[in-house]
Symmetry: D2
Subunit: 164 residues, 4 copies
């Protein structure tokens, strides 16, 4: 009965249009596959795009916000978990996700990728940033799975969920 949760991590205000498109698409595909989509819930960037994508397919969404104020969450989050923990909530994002997709590797997202590796959880890393790939693949070759687009990301997620 417990839902499988796909966590989509990525930049807020600094997200590029490509980041947004990829996050939206992953959210949509994950919802179509029956998964609950989770993001950091702020009404910005990859966090909101992933939730919007999931809602476009009639999916269920979960947002875990860093602040104390539920009103600050994206309206695309069906269920809002309010932590009041600032960036310590990144750890909860990782523990809560059954599969983790990271769109890029800016500072906040990088902290989530690093915490995932520390917890021996797999991360599907959607980026073409060669330096990020080189470093993270060397750091954790068994846990970091680099892909180029939303379609490849969903394939990787599906494969990881079947293996677990």
């Amino acid at each position: 009965m417990t839902k499988t949760i796909i966590g989509i991590m990525g930049p807020g205000e600094k997200a590029t249009q490509q980041d947004l498109d990829i996050a939206y698409e992953i959210g949509k595909c994950a919802a179509e596959a029956g998964y609950t989509v989770m993001t950091g819930a702020r009404p910005a960037g990859v966090m909101e795009a992933g939730l919007r994508g999931a809602k476009s397919a009639g999916g269920q969404t979960l947002g875990i916000i860093p602040s104390k104020n539920k009103a600050e969450a994206s309206p695309y989050a069906d269920i809002v978990v309010v932590t009041g923990l600032n960036s310590a909530r990144n750890y909860i994002n990782i523990l809560t996700s059954d599969a983790i997709v990271a769109c890029g590797a800016e500072a906040g997202t990088l902290s989530e990728i690093a915490l995932a590796i520390k917890e021996k959880k797999h991360v599907v890393l959607v980026t073409q940033n060669k330096k990020a790939i080189d470093f993270l693949k060397e750091l954790a070759p068994d846990f970091v799975h680099n892909v180029k687009n939303a379609a490849e990301a969903m394939q990787a997620v599906m494969k990881l969920l079947q293996t677990d």
Copy 2:
């Protein structure tokens, strides 16, 4: 689109049959009214009874667990948020709830009642423990609402949600 969340707090292993019956009934009524029911997610006591009640009415349930291990959550939690924060997660239970029902006032629940008062959030306290009522009503007369049973608890919750 964002769901209203009714948080049901109460003892785990130490819950009495009456605690369990009340929590189940509140979970059931909250679900029938269209609310999402949240508890601390451990497969014990009030936490599980509240979730079971909600599921008996086809409702949606959210569990926020203290440990790092999703497998430790009650199977009656549709969505499991995994915190790894031990009892620091009690703060998240309070911030996440739009309305809070406390079944009794044992130590863990008392920490949640106290954090709710600190955050100026209302608590519907279902207990006949006279000493708890005397103390908590004096501590926070505007925020502690004592009731005797599940029916009164749901009435109080409804009234609080309409006022907010």
Copy 3:
């Protein structure tokens, strides 16, 4: 080599002059006895009075603040631990204290007393609030030790530390 830490909990802005006097005296006596004094570090109420007392005796002080901003800590805290966790930091106050003194039982302090009981840690409760005493002594007779003043509080702390 590791220091024994006496945690002094109590109200901030709402503290009475008596609360402040008691917290100052406990901080002073704990420092004279060679203990490190810990409080919640905000520059107000019992938190600052306890630290000031300890510093008046040349003791060492530790402050654990809820906000992200070290500059918000009391200047009487030698060592400031910055949590950014808002009231979730109350749990850290409890886990960090080898002995816990609660001056009164208002909401924030009550959450700390409750978390201490939950963790099976002893609490020396300095209050003459009869309703608080009645309730908390019934809730946890083995862990709540009610005293009336600073001298009795230090006696109780000493006894608890010798037993541990």
Copy 4:
């Protein structure tokens, strides 16, 4: 009166002899300069080596542990802050440090580097891992300061503390 805290981050069990030597030396130099040295407090790797170095120079040490159990902290930590937050405590390590030295960039340390950058805090990164340097310097050129050894690390720390 409030102490300046130098946080030394780095691997536990996976630390190399070189990591240990560098952490010890930085701890020693920081203590000689009058700073309090903070680490993650586990009795292993860079965490313990940094504390040992500081104690060898008669300095003051602070350890912030992830578990609930003070007995698990390194005996070289004078003051032990017990969080019970598992890896969410990494955020506290970063917020508490006035200057941050990262020995290497394995997963746990990387999460701390990333959280520091997110908070716009400077990180002195002691490593010769070219891929880590390339990526992190590109990610946050203004906040990541790469050095090769303990002497350079202390120079960089001193410079950062004077600028702040």
